[in-house]
Amino acid sequence: MSTQQSNEGNLPEEKLDEEELDLTSRTYKAIVEHGMEGILQSQLWKELNLTSRDGSRLAIRLEKRGMIRRERVLENGRWTYRLFPIRMPIKTASIRDAPCLTCKVIEQCSTEGRISPRVCSMLEEWVRKEYQEYTSHKVVMKVETKSSQT
């Protein structure tokens, strides 16, 4: 009972935290998308529909994590910050959900062994599924492009 109560009590706080974390990655994404020339923080807050208080907190958090750099600049007679990405996020899409990442017998996996990539059904399933998703995504993209042209 007490666990349930405490969990219920945690829910709104947890949700708020999740929203804030999502905002952090959205902010980072927007900064990364503006490339190495950076973006004025006021412009970014407008794009993300954030208050300057929330926006500044997020920017400081990203700076603390070493993901962005804040540079003080004079813009239209007012001091503000320009935000630059330091660490560009490394790509992981190509190996996402790959069974080898969490395979319990990976240490025994070899070409000649009983456990082998040659016969691994999980590896086969993963590659097939990924390709299926890729091709279906491509079809959707084509349909969307066609409909926007008409």
Partner: protein, 172 residues
């Protein structure tokens, strides 16, 4: 949970598990030197789940722990820290490992002929194995016929190319 534009540490953790890995990784970035209990309270996850994730991340050298004495309780606790310098190399080494497995599979698919009974759940087998089984499926008993799975080879080539391209162009 989308992690495309997250810190590489969160992305590395997300490769190893589901949502709980992402939550623990984010909590570790927000609270340096946190204990398992602090992470549990920050994430709302159960302590045993947090511990399981921490040990897994530690096993992959993505975090490090320092044993310190808890000043209030007197017992030893571990304070955990993200090893952010290790994350990019971890992701790259995983990519190379998987790439190698896929190449080995492609070579096997290209140098063998396969026989299959057509039953869902049964396996296709190379010529030697099919001959040993007298071209009868050992599982369902149906006749094994030669199959040409060109599509799978193409699929493997596509995935190999995708990983190679990512290795070449590392970041967004």
């Amino acid at each position: 949970m989308k992690v495309e534009y997250e810190d590489s540490f969160v992305k590395a953790a997300s490769l190893l598990g589901a949502e709980e890995y992402i939550r623990v990784a984010r909590a570790l970035l927000n609270n340096e030197n946190a204990t398992d209990e602090e992470i549990a309270s920050a994430t709302g996850l159960k302590i045993n789940i947090v511990r399981r994730v921490l040990y897994d991340l530690f096993g992959h050298s993505l975090i490090s722990g320092i044993r310190v004495r808890d000043p209030k309780k007197g017992w030893f606790v571990y304070r955990w820290q993200a090893r952010r310098d290790q994350t990019d190399s971890f992701i790259e080494s995983q990519k190379r490992k998987i790439l190698e497995k896929l190449k080995q599979r492609l070579e096997y698919e290209e140098t063998n002929e396969f026989y299959y009974c057509g039953t869902v759940g049964c396996k296709k087998m190379p010529f030697v194995e099919a001959m040993e089984n007298l071209f009868k499926c050992p599982r369902c008993g149906k006749t094994l016929n030669l199959i040409k799975d060109e599509e799978f080879k193409e699929t493997l080539k596509w995935k190999i190319k995708q990983i190679e391209e990512e290795l070449e162009k590392r970041t967004h």
